[in-house]
């Protein structure tokens, strides 16, 4: 049957639209029903060959299909889309109708035979009419006929055939099973390797899928990294800020402390200098005089106490004056007065000696806090 090639560029429904629209176009588009042709461009997204006509050599099956569809079915304007994307079915020879259902598995054993030649089906075929012995009688009769009528001539080849046949039969009966087993094992090995490959592939794919999912899960944790980074930066900034504050504080404190320390130092130096000077001058003045000292106190503490007390008083007075910001000259005058006072009453040099001069108590005297606490000594 002649099959017109389908024209995919002329879809059917358009025709009706054309009728509604316009005058002259109507007449042109009005035609008899399109010649019967199988439609198989129903699916808009078919992935098979775009022009699935019978001329395409790549798919002879489609050609068959088309032919069958053209012959068999009456209505060609099938609404159901027949997809042209065929998976190549290579068993077009085995069946009359191409069904895409999977074939049943091939049989394990071959068909049953008797005498290695005659299939069982023959015996089953004759059984209803002739019973069990029927086929055997038929065989015997046939053989007798062939031999007696000399349709089969017995000659040398017959004996050769008989001998070889016996040997072959013996060989097959004895070694057949083993050889079959060996051949099967060869095949088995191939199947085994294929099976291993399949299993490997399965596990590999499953692992790969798992790995991919794991990697995706890992990616979700990228926020942590950036949070950590930002935290680090914030911490560094904060630390820097605090360090700056501390730096300011330290600088100011240092300067203030320096001033305080400087003042203390100045005062100490002044004290020392003054005391030394006064001592020197007083010693000079004493050696000029004859001092009549009272009873010499025996206990050292008694001897030292007045001196230290005097010095203490003098020091206090001097400090008060210094703190008050008065110049050094008046301090000198005050201290000189005190010492002169003292030396008039007591015998200076032995007392100095006994008290160990200014050596022992000197440091304590010149420090602000410590010698106030040593009053009791």
């Amino acid at each position: 049957p002649r099959i017109a090639p389908p024209s995919p560029t002329r879809p059917g429904p358009r025709r009706h639209l054309g009728l509604e629209v316009g005058g002259r176009r109507e007449r042109e588009s009005e035609r008899p029903a399109p010649p019967p042709r199988p439609r198989h461009t129903g699916s808009p997204t078919h992935t098979g060959p775009p022009h699935s006509g019978p001329a395409t050599p790549a798919s002879p099956h489609t050609g068959d299909m088309l032919a069958r569809a053209a012959i068999a079915s009456g209505s060609f304007l099938k609404s159901a889309p027949i997809s042209t994307s065929f998976v190549a079915i290579s068993r077009s020879f085995h069946g009359s109708s191409q069904s895409r259902a999977p074939l049943p598995p091939l049989p394990e054993e071959g068909g049953k035979v008797r005498f290695g030649l005659i299939p069982e089906e023959f015996f089953h075929f004759l059984y209803p009419k002739t019973g069990v012995t029927g086929p055997y009688m038929f065989g015997t009769g046939l053989l007798t006929y062939l031999l007696s009528k000399e349709i089969y001539v017995i000659n040398h080849e017959t004996f050769v055939a008989i001998s070889i046949g016996i040997v072959i039969l013996y060989g097959v009966k004895k070694f057949g099973k083993d050889v079959a087993q060996f051949a099967d094992s060869l095949n088995e090995e191939k199947v085994q390797t294929a099976q291993k490959v399949k299993e490997l592939a399965l596990t590999g794919l499953a692992d790969a899928i798992e790995q991919e999912n794991k990697e995706q899960w890992r990616m979700d944790g990228r926020n942590h990294l950036f949070d950590a980074k930002r935290n680090n930066v914030a911490m560094m900034l904060e630390t820097n800020h605090r360090e700056r504050l501390h730096m300011v504080y330290d600088a100011v404190k240092k300067r203030l402390d320096y001033q305080v320390g400087l003042q203390h130092l100045e005062r100490r130096l002044a004290q020392e200098h003054m005391v030394n000077w006064v001592e020197k001058s007083v010693i000079q003045s004493i050696t000029a005089q004859q001092v009549s000292a009272g009873p010499r106190p025996t206990r050292r503490s008694d001897r030292c106490a007045p001196l230290q007390e005097s010095v203490h008083n003098a020091h206090k007075r001097m400090c008060a004056l210094i703190d008050g910001g008065i110049g050094y000259n008046s301090h000198l005058a005050a201290l000189t007065g005190v010492y002169v006072e003292y030396c008039v009453q007591f015998w200076w040099p032995p007392l100095l000696e006994q008290c160990g001069g200014f050596g022992e108590g000197a440091e304590e005297v010149y420090q602000d806090d410590a010698w106030i606490n040593h009053q009791a000594d």
């Binding site: 290579s90 068993r91 999977p102 598995p105 091939l106 199947v191 294929a194 099976q195 399949k198 592939a201 399965l202 794919l205 499953a206 790969a208 899928i209 991919e212 999912n213 990697e215 995706q216 899960w217 890992r218 990616m219 979700d220 944790g221 990228r222 926020n223 942590h224 990294l225 950036f226 949070d227 950590a228 980074k229 930002r230 935290n231 680090n232 930066v233 914030a234 911490m235 560094m236 900034l237 904060e238 630390t239 800020h241 605090r242 360090e243 700056r244 504050l245 501390h246 300011v248 504080y249 330290d250 100011v252 404190k253 300067r255 203030l256 001033q259 305080v260 003042q263 703190d323 910001g325």
Partner: protein, 161 residues
Amino acid sequence: MSSRRVAMKAVDWIAFGERVPPNQRAMFNALKTRSDALTSKLTSLPEKPPAIDWSYYRKTIVKAGMVDEFEKKYNAIKVPEPIDTQGEKINAQEQEANKSAQSYCQASKERISKYEKELAKFKSMVPFDQMTIEDLNETFPETKLDMVKHPYWPHKPISDL
């Protein structure tokens, strides 16, 4: 200032560590130690320096007005807060990372779908002992012997045997 303290998000190091792939462990450890060092340094510094005892200095220091001047200037000083130069870079990095993560996830999903298709194919295929050669060629196209290129047996280059 204290406001910056609040802006720091608590990083869950354990969860973070779980997601680190083994080849980046060393980097993660380095980052962690660095973070810990910074944290300890930060906590070791008190937030504000101790207050200066101005009355004591006013009593002790003789120079007139020095302490007052210092006090005024000290209270007036504004320590500039350090500027954040790296913040935008980090944000930019994060954006990039997000994008690349997106594309990677896409690619990963595609790969997964491919794998799943192959898996389905393997699962639904004919068992080997029921196959014929045509079935084999269908399932594994690489086993198909090219009769056109090698018309004579064994239909493949001798080296492939």
